[in-house]
Amino acid sequence: MRAYIIVNLFRNSSIHCTKMSANSDSKSKRSFKSMSSNPSSSGNNSGDGKSSSKKRKTAQKTLGMAWGANSRASSNSASRNSPFADFGSYMAVKNQKLHEQFDAAASSSSHSASTSGKSIFRGVSIFVDGYTVPSNQELRGYMLKYGGCFENYFSRHRVTHIICSNLPDSKIKNLRAFSGGLPVVKPAWLLDSVVANKLLSWIPYQLDQLGTEKDNQSKLSTFFTPKKDGVSESAEFLVDGQQIFENDNQSPSRVDSSFPEDNASLEQTDRFREELDDHSQLNINKPISEEPACSVESSYEVKGVELNDSPDLDEKNSDLKHKSSTFQASVSLSSSSLSIHNSTNPSSSRTKLAPNQGHSTLVDPNFVENYFKSSRLHFIGTWRNRYRKRFSSLSNGYRCKSSSLNTAVNENNSIIHIDMDCFFVAVVTRNYPELLDKPVAVCHSDNPRGTAEISSANYPARDHGVKAGMFVKDAKTRCPQLVIVPYDFGAYEKVADQFYDILHKHCQKVQAVSCDEAFLDVSESEVGDPQLLASVIRKEIFDTTGCTASAGIAGNMLMARLATKTAKPDGLCYIPPEKVDTYLSELPVKALPGIGHILEDKLKKKQIKTCAHLRAISKESLQKDFGMKTGEMLWNYSRGIDNRLVGLIQESKSIGAEVNWGVRFRNRNDTRHFLENLCKEVALRLQGCGVQGRSFTLKIKKKRGDAGEPVKYMGCGDCENLSHSITIPMATDDADVLKRLATQLFGYFHIDVEDIRGVGLQVSKLEGADDSKLVHKRNSILPWVVSTSSKDRDRNQPVQLSNHGDAGSSVDTGAASLPPLEDLDVAVIESLPPEVVSEINDMYGGKLLGFISENRRKTADTNLDAISSRSGEDLDASVEETESFSAVHLVESNTIAADNESGEVAPPSVAVPTSFSLKNLMPSSLSQVDRSVLQQLPEELRKDIIELLPQHREPEFVKGSSSNVINEEPEFESSELKDLWIGNPPKWVEKFKNSTCSILNTFAKMYHYGCGGCLSSLLQRMVSEIFPPIDAGADGFHDAVSWLCELFKQYIDLKIATDMEEIYCCIRLLRRLCGRSDIFIQVNNVILPHLQRLMGEEYGGTLSIPPL
């Protein structure tokens, strides 16, 4: 434990500090702080001054000014000398006057330019913010000319569009507060509209800084819905807007009520229009898949109509109510059509969620589920299981074959490695020919400032330097025109299946690497030329899926894989055996599979950059430097040697689920809930793979103490990884058991739940669910069920149990298989329907009823039977963990049910559970009980079992739970001497008081004089006390010594870890007392070795005690 020592040394001879760097460092830090604090504060001041002076400048028409109009605080000084009551009323009058002026000017300009005077801007009311080109006066002119409105001061009610070329950062961050949800558009919109002589959609002219997403990160939720820019987004938009008014999530249908005023609803309709524009855009961008097409289109139609109407402001005002309701309708219509769409596409319907979905464990009760639904890694991870299920027969068939063919690697082998080209992007973009040559990336969120990570990018995007794993914002800086598309897991699944269908059609030996990547062994293919075969496969893949694939052909898997790298994108590369050497010699080592950053760096240090360099080194020295396995791998790979066989499927060693994104907890309750869901997920995965596990590891990512909020939105940031694991004797895949174990494991961590950034549960030591059933038979309580006397007969019973389905056969065996009467469980029989009981009674020749009544009498006196009658119900029901219990129970009820149905009594199967009578069920002694099982039983039940079992010498067996249950009759002496320092006053006081020994009496008296629980102060008093000496031969001398020894011992045990000083004190006082009475000498002699031993254990030294 203390093997790790950290030293910081300092030499006396010269005061020479080697830690000067740290010294100066801290100093510089300090000075930096002082430097930075001053300018920043002054900067702030000047900034404040500037902004406040700006505010006072009425000429400057900023939003700040406009809002200032409504704020009394800032208007006090201005209003003091004005004829107006306050600044607000002044502004009202001013605005009114400006409007009048504008109207007058408008009418005159429309007269003068009546020829061109088409009111294209009717209903549009702009507010110009900041500097624009053309200037705001020119824009005002356009508005005058074409029937629009121009607002000098921002008003949420009157303005419909905000025009600006540039926005300060603060306004972007606080866009909603700034714009009130109104569109923020570039002036080019107005100019282009004038040129086009009609009102264009403002969407393309939206300010670049805002991007396509209005709300930043919360929009990630749109990812959860299959069509991200669809209705859910607008619905959320509404809810968002509403949240400004009420901090409460409400359904969009209630929006109306929150905008009672006309103006507000005008704004609302505007917002709707904005969404509709979104939709229409969506319509343009997205060819609609066939089945739902009609419904989706119809919903768009509605919108289209509304859209055309909307410029008609007058009409709009007249029946606003009606309109908003139709808008509402259109929205709901489209959402319903969306759901239709979803239902036609089963995989995507999975991903449909409520619109206002939260993104952390805090908000979303179904976080875990949703998380995994939308995780690409999860898709890849679980894909394998899907694949194995789908093609299990094929791969199994092959596996047998390969093992039989497991001879030396043939020279003429040819392996094809086939890999889809940027699968995740290609699958999504295949339906959009216009995106073909454009840079496209797949990502959860396309917020240009977002910290979502790009998961895959196509080749044009890669040319711009966009890489997987990059944040969207970085990718967008590298490639501003980057188009971001969301995942489409349904399509991925479909394409992957098609891909493998094709591969399996052409080749027997397929090894799946991933959903989009596989090895084919075509050595024995009928098609002679592997190149031909590969091109056929590639063509077929393209024809079927619309995505391209690249293929590499070579003599082994390694070379085939390398060839694919050369082939990409959309190509084919064949490396014949004779060209392997030349191909490899120029290959950088990094290109070899299995060489990551770390290994590459190591190699670089040795000046090894290409495979040719690597080949120059002997295998031995490689193995010496990099370890046996890695060394051999390097040596082989650099020579193009790869002996792996296609088709070897690695069984997964562990199954688990881990969530490292969006994990935020407030309290234990949150974590409990989260763990519950995580366990469900893991249990589903286990069941999906048909395995059960015995070892469970809970991993926690804990935020480092000094780490702030991570850069990545809701990411995990800089974390410590902690884990605890537990192994249970019986494999399980049960969610409840997992939950209990996970909760238990979680309890070991002792960490602040708020620091948790990620949780994962991993299950290992996997056993096939079928195997584990067999194992159950061996490990379970079932063998216990049989009494030792009747072992031979009962050995067969588990088999019978599992085969109870063909109960008929056992019936056929007839009375021969009737279990002895005494093996029947009365409780079970009693719970049977009367007719069944009478039938069984007949079979036993009428003895059964007598047996039952006799048994009832027994039950009355022995508590054994009290439990036995419960064991059928409580035990089984509560002990899900001990699955054999429940399994038996299940079988029991099943057989009974089956029997009732068939109307045929099958005594043997009824008899099986009857062998449950408690004597047989229980192991012969406590030591045979599986401790972990026992500890997981409810307290009451555990107590019962323990009482029942013959006890064994294991007092700590059920430690902490009910230790007193076992120690019913411990040695009298020791219990007397135990825990002397427990209680208040401690136990010894009472004992000593009643003792016959005067010294002990004095001790007790001293305690009552107020020495508290402190032995040293007690001894201190003893030293000054006069007490009669007792001779060694006197009565009770030995008793007194042993009492005192015990007193000291227990005190030392109590204090040794925390308070050496006290013990030291006591020992010294004891030494002083030694001169007073032999009794203390004896005590001292007994105590010292004990103390020194403890000192050695605790402190690695001995207490230095002055000689007597």
Partner: protein, 204 residues
Amino acid sequence: MDRKENRTPQAEIARILVEFLEVAVTSVVFLKGVYPNGAFERRRYMNVVVHKARHPQLNEYIHSAVYGLLPFICKGLVDRVAVIFFDGGDVAIERFVFKINVNESYSSKVEQSQLEFSLRSFLIKLPVSEPLTKVLPRNCRWEITGYFRCLPEGSTSKDAEMWVPTDAKHWQQPPQITPIKSMSSEPLGLQLYLEQPSLSEPKN
């Protein structure tokens, strides 16, 4: 002020403890007379007269070494902090060991005044334990050694980087231990004891 309230009790304990350790280590060094008395100046800490090194390097050494432990104490990694005195060679003559036991599960507010009151007794007790200690030979040196419960993974902060792993230098025989002062409060347990080579320790 705001920052202080956001701290965990452990961080608060560690802060108080580290401040105390700086004073205590200086006191030990002063007590042992490694440097002339003139190298120290009298200060008042927790209402006790203590000594503080005048020499900036000595002061800085103790300060930086002890404050470098802060992150580790926060995490409960530090088991003991020892001030070890060596003779001319590499043989330790005497070790003043501070055994630290921060209650990691302590969650209520730390009463600084109470903790300081308990810690104060160490500073009072320390000078009177001088007779227990051995006289140092000339040409001795001393170091501060931290004994960790487990090796910290990576360095968490700049200050911590100054602490480097080293091998333990142990006496061959279990040392003689003389307790100087112990305290055990709910948030923090601290013991100061003196380790001296046992009488049977082979002399070289």
